[in-house]
């Protein structure tokens, strides 16, 4: 798999632009538009937070109304349009209508996403001007502004996050391009952050939705920055069908094996990019729990370590403090055999069958200080299941970002 800028626009049939309409105080691009040449099969997963943002509520209903057919996506950053009451729901719908009008599309063709501060009304005059700008640009430009689209959806992100893959469905080569944003309030539950993935594969909406749910469960739902689930998490998968051939009608089709693998790898790359760019992060941390009774328990134990402020602060301090990792596993609810538990950090074997292993603490500290990626493996000693979760360390910068990022 290769990663490039403007990944979405490398998929035949998709254009994307980003513009500045003044929502972000920084003056950075803050509105993105993705437009397909023709209606696409669409599937999405959303936040499970009860306080779903207005665009999330709008989109859930939109996918039901249309049976999973869309042609455009409009995304703003700097304002989440979340917990904005009845007015917020009207604003989300209006944002869709403005996009459809500006792109010359019929009603119910546009999907809406917002990210940023919670509890403030969307600045609709700015949104309207941004949508007009974006639609104009996308008409006059063949889609070379795709990289600006990725930048326009960033909030506290330091790096744009994109991925691109090529694979086959049957005898047809197909392409998949994705872009996501997310750095804080990252602990997706059945969905994630904001993300758009485009493919020219021909897959019907129902199998597309099933495939997306499966893949998200093992990728985006296994990344966490701070344990906080967003009100706006949305991941959208659009399939234009322009690669040709009759659409795949069932997720169980053997023709989807290679596509499913490519989509999973692409989502893991994007999920890891989010953890690597977690607010204030200095390290990407991969936590694998094996020897668990079930995969769910392995995932729970891994996520408990991945959200432990104590463990994450130790990683920031380059401290091979395995005690904090085991204490977290011990409170996770996963079944564990304390006298069969083993643990490794990188190449350091630190715990063997419940007993501490003597190791060179200074050497381990110096080794950790040089790593930008650290792998922790713990074996719970009770079964054969495993799961991997990605997170980052916890630094002064995380506190600074979230103490200073004011309402």
């Amino acid at each position: 798999m290769t990663v490039s800028t403007a990944s979405i626009t490398r998929v035949p049939g998709f254009r994307a632009v980003g513009v500045t309409c003044g929502i972000k105080q920084s003056g950075n691009p803050d509105l993105a538009l993705v437009l397909a040449e023709q209606p696409c099969a669409a599937a999405a997963v959303f936040t499970q937070d009860i306080f779903k943002a207005a665009p999330v509520l709008y989109d859930i209903d939109l996918l039901k109304r249309t049976g999973g057919r869309l042609q455009a996506v409009v995304i703003n950053a700097g304002n989440a349009n979340a917990i904005t009451g009845e007015q917020g729901r009207r604003d989300a719908e209006h944002m869709a209508r403005l996009t459809e009008a500006a792109c010359g599309l019929p009603a119910d063709s546009a999907f809406v996403m917002s990210t940023g501060v919670i509890g403030h009304r969307l600045p609709m005059a700015k949104i309207e001007s941004g949508i007009r700008q974006a639609a104009e640009l996308i008409r006059t430009d063949a889609g070379t502004q795709g990289c600006d689209a990725v930048r326009a959806i960033m909030t506290t992100d330091l790096a744009p996050k994109e991925a691109f893959a090529q694979t086959m469905i049957g005898d047809r080569p197909v392409r998949i391009g994705g872009m996501v944003k997310g750095s804080g309030m990252i602990h997706p539950n059945m969905a994630t952050l904001l993300g758009v993935i485009a493919t020219d594969a021909a897959i019907e909406p129902a199998p597309l939705a099933e495939l997306l749910r499966d893949v998200v469960g093992k990728t985006f739902n296994r990344v966490t920055v701070d344990g906080d689930t967003s009100t706006n998490d949305t991941l959208l998968l659009l399939a234009s069908g322009q690669a040709g051939r009759a659409p795949v009608t069932t997720a169980q089709s053997s023709e989807l094996e290679s596509f499913s693998k490519a989509l999973t790898d692409l989502c893991i790359d994007l999920a890891k990019a989010i953890a690597r760019d977690g607010e204030g992060a200095t390290k990407l941390i991969e936590i694998t729990i094996r020897g668990a009774a079930t995969e769910t328990e392995a995932e729970t134990a891994a996520k408990t370590v991945a959200t432990s402020p104590l463990f994450k602060a130790a990683m920031f301090g380059n401290d091979p403090n395995w005690g904090r990792a085991l204490a977290a596993i011990g409170r996770s609810g996963a079944r564990v055999d304390p006298v069969q538990t083993s643990l490794w950090v990188g190449d350091y074997h630190l715990v063997e069958h419940g007993e501490p292993v003597v190791f060179d603490v200074v050497a381990a500290h110096d080794w950790l200080a040089k790593q930008s990626e650290v792998r922790l493996v713990a074996d719970l000693g009770v079964g054969q299941s495993e799961a991997t979760v990605w997170t980052c360390d916890f630094s002064y910068k995380y506190v600074e970002i979230n103490a200073e990022y004011h309402t």
Copy 2:
């Protein structure tokens, strides 16, 4: 209720000293001994973490063996004797034996607690010298060193935490004195941190244990600093019976009403002292969830806010960021009616029936900057139940403490 130094030694029949035996690198007192004049009824609650420390495993068994009768408590700080394997279990037992020998007590009279770094073997030569010193001091001194005992159990604590209360059982005045430690890895589950509470009340072990469980559920189990449960959490309640009269034999006795209330208030004071002294804390934060379907759901929602790094960092930044609090409630699993939810921070009414209330953000920021205690109230709009949880804000200092506090 009054708070004083040396609270435990204000209870007739209890002496306590603290000494320095060189476990802490700082040279601060690091071993405490509490000695009762006669055997006491004893009840304790312990961590629910699967990786229970060696002293916890020893004490659980000790209370079973003795049916809840004890006369001494030995506590060291600087080394948790947790995840230290078979050797750690032998060291905990040896620590009890050394204490009993030094105090001239029969076997199975001494309770053992340890706190500090996980995964390192106890320095038994230092422990032995500390126990001898402490036993010698307690013999020659009537117990005026009680305040040193409180200091000897501190790790990252900045302040000693004690409380004292007087109440009645039937017609007899009784006294309750308690000391606790805890600042990080604080998220007790059915127990807490390290704590010793002494009373001269006459209560049998069985009702004492029942009373302690009930009180802890609404006090120490509702405080959190970082969501991380310790491997060593232990709270011990000793009742000497020296206040006289026949012992209370059932927790349902109407004579215990006033005692139970006094014990609850004392535990709330100690729990709040822990949150106020949370690692790096600048503010004590009290979170009350009301209008919940059940008390358990109210507690879950309150704890989810209380462990949200985003919300806690906002409090450090004096940012009235209610969106982060509602997002946390929304992912907590508690039933919530989004359009009936209301929220207050201090006197600021910020959300009314799911709609943001317009308020003076600058004034609210300035007000928060002046507070050392902040109260957040959220009404979930679905029932009549409520619960209160105590926590603190999340500062640079928390990260510093836990990045630098090396294994």
